[in-house]
C-alpha cells in the first residue's frame, strides 16, 4: 500500500486508512464525514461512495 495519506475527494482532508484496508471497502472522512470507497490500494485511490439507494439495507 502507498505510504502517503490519501486526501478526501470532497474536502481535501487527510483520510485515515486502516492497515487491513481492502479494495472496495467503505471508509469515512473524519473531517467532513463523507463516506468514501477505496477504489485502489496501490496507489491509494478514493472516490465518493455511491449514494444510498432506496432498496439498500439488510
Amino acid at each position: 500500500m502507498a505510504s502517503e495519506t490519501p486526501l478526501c475527494p470532497e474536502c481535501d482532508g487527510e483520510v485515515e486508512i486502516p492497515a487491513d484496508a481492502m479494495e472496495n471497502e467503505l471508509v469515512s472522512c473524519a473531517e467532513c464525514g463523507m463516506e468514501l470507497e477505496i477504489m485502489n490500494l496501490d496507489p491509494l485511490e478514493l472516490e465518493l461512495a455511491p449514494e444510498v439507494e432506496e432498496d439498500w439495507g439488510e
Binding site: 487491513d20 481492502m22 479494495e23 472496495n24 471497502e25 467503505l26 470507497e37 461512495a49 455511491p50 439507494e53 432506496e54 432498496d55 439498500w56 439495507g57 439488510e58
Partner: protein, 292 residues
Amino acid sequence: MRVALLVTHIRAEEKLILAAFNKRDISPDIILDRELNFEITQGADQLAPSGIAWRDYDLVFERCVSTSRGMYALAILNNWGLRTFNTYETAAACADKLRTSIALMKCGIPQPHTRVAFTPESAMQAIEDVRYPAVLKPVTGSWGRLLARVHNRDSAEAILEHRQTLGDYNHHTYYVQEYIDKPGRDIRAFVVGDRTIAAIYRASNHWITNTARGGLATNCPVTDQLNDICVRAAHAVGGGILAVDLLEDAVGDFVVNEINHTMEFRNSSKPTGVDIAQEVIDFVIGQIGVVA
C-alpha cells in the same frame, strides 16, 4: 473449496466474514454486484467477473447491500443450480414485508396485527381499523426508512397523500400495523440454520430502535421460548442465515416484526460474546456438500 462472496462494497461485516473464511483456509473471490452481467440462457458455464465459471463455485455467499441486485442474482444462480446463502426464496420472502407477513401467518407465528390496502381511502380505513397509533411501512426498505407512526386522522391523511403523490407504485401498497407499545427496546436474534446463536436488545428513546438509527445494543439471553419462535420464523421464510426482529408486547409475549436476509452484525458480537461471523461461516462450510 471455491467460494464467491457477492457484495455491493466491503463493509465491516464483509471483512469479518472474510476473516472467518480465512480462518478455515478458504479465500473467497470477491465479486462486485456492479460488475455482474449475466446471459440468462447460457447457464453456469459462463464466467463470473472473477474469471471463474459460475459452476466451479461450491457456494456463492450473497452479502449485497443492494436488495434488488442480490435478490435477482440469487434468482439466476439458484436456477442455474448453484448453492447460495441465502436462497432466492428466502431473500424474496424477507425483502418484502408483506410476503414476510404471509409466510409468518401460514406458520402461525405471532406478528403485529397487520392490514394491507391499495388506495389512500382504503388505507385510511385500514389505519382506523388497527386504531391509533398505527404504523405505516413501505413493503420494501430497510434501516427504518420511511416508517411512520400515525397518531391521528390528520397525520394519516397527510402521510397517505404524500405517499400517493410523491412515491412510486411501491409506496401505493399500504402496509399498516398496530403499534406495539414495546418497553423502549426490541430484540434482534441471529438464527443460523436451526439455532439462535445470539440475540441483542436494541434500546432507544426513539420508537425506531434500529442500531443503524442509533439504537444501543446489549445482550439478550436466548431462552428456549425466544429460540423457538426465532427458529420457527426463520424456517417460515425458507431458512438460512437470518436476523429476526421481535417486539415484546404489553404482557411480554414475543411478536415477530421482520426478518432480514443480509443481516448486519458488527455491533452484536461484542455485547453477546458470540463470534457471529465465525458461527455463520462454520455453518455455511458445513452445508457445502449437503443436498439442498
